[in-house]
């Protein structure tokens, strides 16, 4: 089969075949076997170097020391080359390992926080709140209206001296609020609460702080008033100015909404275009134009899509800035070509015999595609879609262009609310000066990478499970 192919090609295209083989003869003088030729020359008494003369010589003595040395040299070069290749792979993999190691070692601490114990005597704190009213609705408003912040500050100063309030995070009183709401009887007695520490203490606890904070922390440690716990708030709260209080839920929800918009647009449009181009499109100039633009769109830098989104969606259509809707639309335009290309490949791999059989029993051309071809191609299309979505999830630059870099301290409620997304949140935190943000940035990166790996894992699983070789 291959032999026939080869001869066929030689007949039809001798020119091109010759072109590609040419590098070998052109390289001839430095060609591997030329070295051997030199060896012959050295051995031959007349040293003419003409190949024809070699036939009159005695055969090469492969056991001579000279030949043995030469072969050793060539084998050494072979081993060196092989080691260089292995080294290149290990170096590349090493970079990946270093990257992941840096992020994990920095980020693991981002998931923990330091808590400091605070003893508050609510009964004498003059909060003027009745536990009974708190059981009714509006408890949160009543609590927020009372001076809990002042109570916490006073208690901290009483317990830890004049600078006591600085040990606690600015948002520590919200934790007090939550615990009172959970247990209103706390108001009538004194209680011992573990509250999040301020950023200085938190950084000091992780061995990175300035001397004063380190001293304060070791003092807390000796009084048994500090502990390190898993920071659940990091996964459930939104952005904040204080690194001790930041969370990624806001950005994560923004990412989720953006991806929803993206997939709602890119998947149907991508699959329908792939079906059209692969199954129905007539071969003409329009089809060529569509194909060329899809292939080019797949290679356009992502930031250009950001410029498009800014110019068209924001400045012409006046859509809301920083909204997941606009971000999703922009990313959908970017992801669509990926889905089209993957979809076309998947559709192409469905054998024509399936189509012929369906047509043969009387299906219409649309029925052939929707009843037979698409279901068979679906795993391939889904794999491509997930990979495209994973790319969109990690994309930052186009979203910066359409203003998704604002400081958003409440998670978005819908696709038209201002929001930010995970990668942009990482970018924003990486720009912060405060040292507490280093570990938070890495922790957010870990969350992002976990999601990307999960998506790619699903894609690989789908491919292995459903891919069929015909």
């Amino acid at each position: 089969m291959t032999d026939r192919d080869k001869t066929g090609r030689d007949e039809t295209g001798p020119e091109s075949a010759k072109d590609t083989v040419r590098p070998v003869p052109v390289e001839g003088p430095s060609f591997a076997f030329a070295e051997e030729g030199e060896g012959f020359d050295k051995l031959s008494p007349n040293g003419a170097g003409a190949v024809a003369t070699n036939f009159s010589k005695s055969p090469t003595d492969w056991d001579s020391s000279e030949m043995a040395k030469r072969i050793r040299r060539r084998y050494a070069a072979e081993r060196r080359f092989r080691w260089v290749g292995l080294g290149a792979i290990l170096l590349s993999a090493g970079f990946l390992a270093l990257l992941l190691f840096t992020m994990v070692s920095n980020g693991a601490r981002g998931f923990t926080r330091t808590e400091v114990r605070l003893d508050v005597d609510f009964a004498s704190a003059a909060l003027f709140l009745d536990p009974a009213t708190l059981r009714s609705t509006g408890a949160k408003a009543a609590l927020a209206g009372s001076d809990l912040q002042g109570v916490v500050a006073k208690a901290a100063e009483a317990q830890y001296g004049a600078l006591g309030a600085r040990l606690f995070s600015d948002t520590a009183w919200l934790k007090v609020l939550d615990s009172i709401e959970a247990d209103p009887s706390l108001l009538t007695r004194s209680g011992s609460l573990w509250l999040p520490a301020s950023t200085e203490i938190d950084v000091a606890a992780k061995g990175d702080g300035d001397p004063a904070a380190e001293r304060a922390y070791s003092e807390l440690g000796s009084r048994d008033s500090a502990r390190t716990r898993f920071n659940g708030d990091f996964l459930t709260s939104a952005d904040a100015t204080d690194p001790a209080a930041v969370g990624i839920w806001g950005a994560f929800k923004g990412s989720l909404l953006t991806m929803l918009v993206t997939i709602a647009i890119a998947f149907p449009v991508g699959v329908l275009s792939a079906v059209y181009l692969e199954e129905y499109a007539p071969r003409n100039r329009w089809t060529d134009l569509i194909e060329v633009s899809i292939n080019n769109l797949a290679a356009v830098p992502s930031i250009i899509f950001g410029l498009l989104g800014l110019a068209v969606f924001l400045n012409v259509m006046h859509m809301p800035r920083s909204a997941p809707l606009v971000g999703g639309l922009t990313l959908a335009l970017m992801t669509m070509p990926v889905i089209v290309i993957a979809g076309r490949n998947a559709i192409k791999s469905v054998p024509p015999s399936i189509r012929d059989a369906a047509l043969g029993v009387g299906a219409s051309r649309i029925q052939v595609v929707y009843h037979h071809v698409l279901p068979l191609a679906l795993p391939g299309i889904l794999t491509g879609t997930i990979i495209g979505m994973a790319r969109a999830l990690g994309e930052t630059a186009p979203l910066l262009m359409i203003g998704m870099r604002a400081f958003i301290s409440t998670p978005p409620g819908g696709v038209a609310d201002p929001a930010t997304v995970l990668p942009v949140q990482i970018f924003l935190w990486s720009d912060e000066v405060s040292r507490g943000f280093v570990e938070k940035t890495s922790a957010a990166i870990i969350v992002l990478l976990v999601f990307l790996m999960a998506m790619n894992g699903v894609a690989i699983y789908l491919r292995n499970k459903f891919e069929r070789r015909w």
């Binding site: 591997a32 070069a77 290749g85 290149a88 792979i89 990946l96 830098p301 992502s302 790319r391 990166i445």
Partner: protein
């Protein structure tokens, strides 16, 4: 009803239409009756489409229109006459009005908003009622028309399939529209930019300082838009430093994986390498800024070269790492595409494997490798986050890899984030830079694909 509820209602009615039309068509299919042209399901689809599509299209037009009508009636009401003239304050009050009326907030900050909210609320409910009634009328009119046509001889399948074909065509036209949108938006803004700054200065000037002053008589108020330092920075980082890292590593990895590695190693290492391409660029950027840049700066200072903490070398190195899988997978493809006979021939002549690779396989696969490198370059110069986070902002025309340079993409981000006035050359310059980037990456891709295609034809 709110637009969302109307959409749900329309879809619900369409489902009802589908069920009833299908049931009617089934009734025609009684034994002895004339044969149905289309399956009952197609009749269902025909009615459902007629019920839903016109109403949804109407809604798409009506929602923005009714927003404007509501706002007009609020502004036309007597309560709006004492709105402050300042636009920002005015907009804040109007936003509050809307939120009050829609029940998103309970109390208002501005007292005016409370009165306006009443007007807003009544106008909103009036126009929503009109919209709901019109949409439902359309649903019933469309549905009834289609339902009346359901019959044994009616060609429902043909109609539905024609619509499906139309949808397919429209979907594939979106790709052209996107391309057109990119080209036109870049062109329009660039033309506006070039009406303020001459293209010759932009393309050949060597001073870049886009910071325009607020007052016209201030020093340096015009700004300088010579983009040569940017182009140089982009080439320096993306096409020189990154490629010095990526080409040897990527090529040697591909050679090892295709020629030496055992299948099990290949099966594990290839996806591992490709993971390098899957890591988001913002992670690379953070890695470059946090880990690589300080190391590079310390190294530069230790050998006595003036170094900046945001060096071209740090950004280029990390970008090179990111590009490795692009080079290696293209090289991998083209090496495996070289006919086995050429490799066998060389080995049979007594060449070692490495000699075969260097003297036969790589030269034969060269066009594919070059194509892959060109694609990688185009990818590298369009890359944004690594350079934004690690390469700095000062537009230097220097060949010192330890100095800070800036790139086209960095400047686009820099110019377009922050305060924007849409007529200043500062903002428009970003689009001109984008146009240059678009054209260059497009050309690189076209050339690369040509090269690869020509080479593939030779062996396939």
């Amino acid at each position: 009803m709110s637009p969302f509820a109307i959409v749900i209602a329309i879809l619900g009615l369409a489902v009802l239409g589908w069920l009833s039309a299908r049931a009617r068509a089934m009734a025609f299919a009684a034994p002895g009756a004339p044969r149905l042209h289309s399956l009952p399901g197609y009749h269902g689809w025909y009615v459902a489409i007629w019920a839903a599509l016109p109403a949804l299209l109407f809604l798409l037009l009506w929602v923005p229109l009714s927003d404007r009508l509501v706002m007009d009636s609020v502004l036309g009401s007597p309560a709006a006459s004492n709105l402050p003239p300042f636009e920002m304050q005015r907009n804040a009050i109007l936003r509050e009005t809307r939120e009050l009326a829609e029940g998103l907030r309970q109390s208002s900050f501005h007292p005016e908003a409370r009165d306006l909210a009443l007007v807003y609320g009544s106008a909103l409910s009036r126009y929503r009622l009109i919209g709901t009634v019109a949409a439902l009328l359309l649903v019933f009119a469309g549905g009834a028309f289609a339902y009346s046509r359901v019959g044994p001889a009616f060609r429902a399948r043909t109609r539905v399939e024609r619509l499906v074909m139309l949808a397919l065509l429209l979907a594939s036209l979106i790709a052209i529209l996107t391309t057109l949108g990119i080209v036109l938006s870049l062109l329009f803004e660039s033309i506006r930019f070039f009406s303020m700054v001459s293209p010759v200065e932009f393309l050949f000037g060597s001073t870049w300082s886009p910071q325009t002053a607020i007052r016209a008589d201030q020093a340096g108020s015009s700004g300088a838009f010579g983009a040569i330092p940017l182009f140089w920075g982009t080439v320096f980082i993306g096409a020189i430093i990154a490629m010095i890292v990526a080409i040897p590593l990527g090529l040697m990895s591909a050679i090892y994986l295709t020629q030496y590695a055992r299948p099990v190693v290949r099966r594990w290492m290839k996806p591992l390498l490709e993971m390098l391409a899957g890591v988001p660029t913002v992670v690379y950027g953070y890695f470059a800024a946090l880990t690589v840049a300080p190391a590079v700066r310390d190294f530069g200072q230790s050998i006595g070269i003036p170094s900046s903490s945001e060096s071209a070398l740090a950004a280029g190195l990390v970008m090179g790492i990111m590009i490795i899988p692009f080079v290696s997978s293209m090289a991998d493809d083209s090496l495996t595409a070289v006919p086995q006979s050429m490799r066998d021939g060389s080995l049979a002549m007594g060449a070692t494997t490495s000699e075969t690779i260097r003297k036969v396989l790589v030269p034969a696969a060269l066009p594919g490798i070059v194509g892959g490198v060109l694609l990688a370059v185009s990818r590298a110069i369009g890359e944004t986050m690594i350079v934004v986070m690690a390469a700095g902002l000062s537009a230097n025309l220097t060949a010192n890899p330890f100095a800070s340079v800036t790139t086209v993409t960095t400047q686009i981000v820099q110019l377009l984030t922050g305060d924007q006035e849409f007529d200043s050359p500062k903002t428009l310059a970003a689009f001109a830079l984008g146009l240059v980037l678009f054209i260059v990456t497009l050309l690189l891709n076209i050339v690369a694909l040509r090269v690869v295609k020509k080479y593939r034809e030779a062996y396939d």
